[in-house]
Symmetry: C2
Subunit: 119 residues, 2 copies
């Protein structure tokens, strides 16, 4: 549970930055070299590398080096805990709305029977 | 776009903390007073209030005060930009896989025709 929590912390905080989200959106279209990725961002390379490391740490991207070229690829399966957490919340919320629906439905039926003297 | 980005930054960073996610999961079950929410967390009240303020700033919860009681409620519609961003990524990724499928399919058909001398 705590381990899962730490993973979610890392994933959500990684996603909480526009540069990192832009990198992920670019990599969703296919692999790219660090040089190509960096060229799209007006940022010093060390700062850009920090963003890549954060994404790699979260497991959202993987990097491989061939000769002098370092390439980055998206790891889309890493989004799973985020999507699971969100759908869990949605399930709890929808369940609550369903129970509220039932409650209001019962209340209305009771009220109908209570206010019709001919019944 | 920049405005939308700032909203996503705030949402994702708000979700990147286990206390805040626990508060949201609790509120998905229904409204609760600050006192009740805080009692579930082993944390000084000022620190706890900071988490609530962060969630409120992100629009994920709303608070109302009646007499001395401050109540918190989930604003589930606030999750929409997060879910939209994730589904956009999934769409880009799936589109890429579809194109890869087409490419591999074409390659295999070409290869079949090329390696069967009787054709």
């Amino acid at each position: 549970m705590a381990k899962h929590d730490a993973r979610l912390d890392l994933l959500f905080t990684s996603l909480g930055d526009p540069t990192r989200r832009a990198i992920l959106a670019r990599l969703a279209r296919g692999e790219a070299s660090v040089t190509d990725l960096a060229s799209a961002h007006d940022m010093a390379l060390p700062s850009f590398m920090k963003h890549l490391r954060k994404l790699e740490e979260a497991g959202l991207i993987s990097t491989t080096k061939e000769g002098r070229i370092r390439s980055c690829a998206l790891s889309p399966e890493a989004f799973a805990p985020v999507e699971e957490w969100l759908s869990e919340q949605r399930a709890i919320w929808n369940d609550r709305l369903d129970r509220l629906d039932d409650y209001v439905g019962n209340l209305m039926r009771e009220r109908m029977h209570g206010t019709r003297p001919e019944d």
